[in-house]
């Protein structure tokens, strides 16, 4: 395949180049590694269109990045500024850029960026930047934050990595489970950011989800990280991703689950999810990913199956043991409505009293629709005041006619 036309080649090369440079020079020089990667892409832009693209674009990029780093090293050596660029590993430069070396470095990068010394939002921000190769502006769009906020957050995160002396190392065997939990949590948040974000750019959000899935697949290739938790997280991602084409918007999904066009579901992804969920069912540890993946699997099952909603309801009850969120509670109440009817679900939902939450009003609008159309309309009005995306606004407007 023509590598230049590979979608997101530069994004994945951003991850490979920064990981390899950090493996060789230390993650304390993360910013420098990012700059070198960006300069490398610009060098390609200044060359390829005029002289033709190289036969192996990835190898070309690696060679240029490597030379840029070596030049920096030489210059730092000449100027005795050895503190600026140091060698952090005894591995050879050659080995760092081999296929195995690159793969290995990316995995180490995943663990380093999920280091416990970093706050969760910094872990996700850095993962977006380094592991997914997103630009500051793209991250800001995904988080609905300003570019300045994101730049500052990333700056502080790099400082923490440097000050805490975080290394590009695989965790010790005794720590692997705990450290892997952190990596999975970061990838889960990364995916949720894409799936639930109210960012207007649908393509960007779906890219984010697929990048997160790619990273989980990389983890599954590393035996110590290929645990039932990792596999169930991957299954969960597959099931959700299968509905990308059918769902309209975030709030829309809650309202329109029943109206979704099932022929739009991606059955290959559902099959892949089922496969990994099956593989995840070994061992005796049940994680929140198992529960969420099983819910997501049930959501793909036909309405005619009478076990569907009772199973989903009981899984949502179970999910609350792992910590709860507004989305979990509201979805649980939707399942309650399907099992016990609108009256019970309304009374449980109104107890929550989340007047400023668009999903709360959207759910009540759905629950009231058959019995009390006036109240249903009132809740749609409230939802309309709170939703932000064009798609959600259009959708709620239709419900208001």
């Amino acid at each position: 395949m023509d590598q230049v036309d590979v979608p997101h080649l530069f994004r994945s090369e951003f991850r490979r180049i920064t990981s390899s440079l950090c493996r060789y020079h230390g993650i304390a020089h993360l910013q420098l590694a990012e700059d070198i990667a960006s300069e490398t892409f610009l060098a390609a832009l200044e060359t390829w269109p005029y002289r033709g693209k190289p036969d192996n674009p990835a190898a070309w990029l690696h060679r240029v990045a490597r030379n840029k780093a070596l030049n920096l090293l030489k210059r730092a050596g000449r100027e005795q500024r050895t503190d600026e660029v140091v060698l952090a590993t005894d591995m050879t430069d050659e080995a760092a850029w081999s296929t195995d070396g690159l793969h290995d470095s990316q995995l180490r990068m995943m663990f380093a960026l999920s280091h416990p010394s970093l706050p969760a939002e910094s872990q996700v921000g850095l993962a977006l930047r380094i592991l997914c190769g997103f630009g500051i502006q793209e991250i800001a769009s995904a988080f609905l934050a300003s570019e300045e906020t994101i730049s500052k957050r990333l700056y502080r995160a790099r400082e923490i990595l440097r000050i805490k002396g975080v290394q590009m190392e695989f965790p010790e065997t005794t720590q692997i489970s705990q450290r892997l939990d952190a990596v999975l949590n970061t990838l889960y948040l990364l995916y949720s950011e894409g799936y639930y974000s109210e960012c207007h750019d649908t393509v960007l959000r779906e890219d984010l989800c697929f990048e997160a899935m790619h990273l989980v697949r990389m983890l599954m290739d590393y035996p110590p990280a290929n645990t039932p938790a990792t596999r169930s997280l991957y299954a969960l991602m597959c099931f959700h991703a299968s509905r990308f084409r059918a769902r309209k918007q975030v709030t829309g999904e809650l309202i329109l689950y029943n109206e979704q066009d099932r022929s739009q579901w991606d059955h290959a992804l559902i099959a892949e999810g089922s496969h990994y969920l099956h593989l995840a069912s070994s061992g005796d540890i049940l994680t929140r990913y198992h529960v969420e993946a099983t819910i997501a699997w049930w959501l793909t099952v036909d309405e005619s199956n009478t076990s569907k909603w009772p199973s989903i309801l009981s899984l949502y009850e179970h999910l609350q043991h792992f910590g709860t969120s507004p989305m979990v509670l509201l979805n649980r109440n939707y399942a309650l409505y399907k099992v016990e009817g609108a009256a019970t679900a309304i009374s449980e939902t109104e107890k929550l009293g989340w007047m400023g939450n668009q999903f709360y009003h959207a759910l009540l609008a759905v629950l009231y629709a058959p019995s009390d159309p006036v109240r249903s309309q009132e809740h749609y009005q409230e939802t309309l005041k709170l939703v932000k995306t064009r798609g959600d606004i259009d959708l709620i407007r239709k419900k208001l006619t």
């Binding site: 994004r11 832009l45 502006q137």
Partner: protein
């Protein structure tokens, strides 16, 4: 046919773009030049990296950076064969650099050896 240089000027060349953005520019630039080459009207061209750029002034002082006091920089140029500067300007209109507000492409006739244009 005469030869024209299409000189790409960036309003703020120091701005950092995301990998995805650079890849998009790459594709657009290749498509642009490829389109001109397909008509056999592309002569040559090059990008001009900012690294190692220097400006030498009247007093022979040397400053680093391509900017020479201005934010605007030349990012590269291509030479095309065209019947007229109007045709060359049509090629210039397809240049992806123009997507950036404030950027421009300057069309200049290449002096021919015989002094007759």
């Amino acid at each position: 046919m005469k030869e024209y240089a299409l000189i790409m000027r960036h309003d703020d060349g120091a701005k950092v773009a995301s990998p995805e953005q650079i890849q998009a520019w790459m594709k657009q630039t290749m498509d642009w030049i490829g389109g001109i080459a397909a008509k056999n009207q592309f002569v040559s061209g090059t990008g001009l990296p900012f690294q190692e750029a220097k400006v030498v002034r009247h007093d022979k002082s040397v400053v680093n950076g391509p900017f020479g006091g201005l934010k605007e920089t030349i990012g590269g140029f291509i030479v095309v064969r065209a019947a007229s500067s109007d045709e060359a300007a049509e090629f210039a209109k397809g240049c992806p650099v123009l997507q950036g507000e404030g950027n421009s492409v300057e069309v200049r006739l290449i002096a021919s050896g015989d002094g007759v244009h």
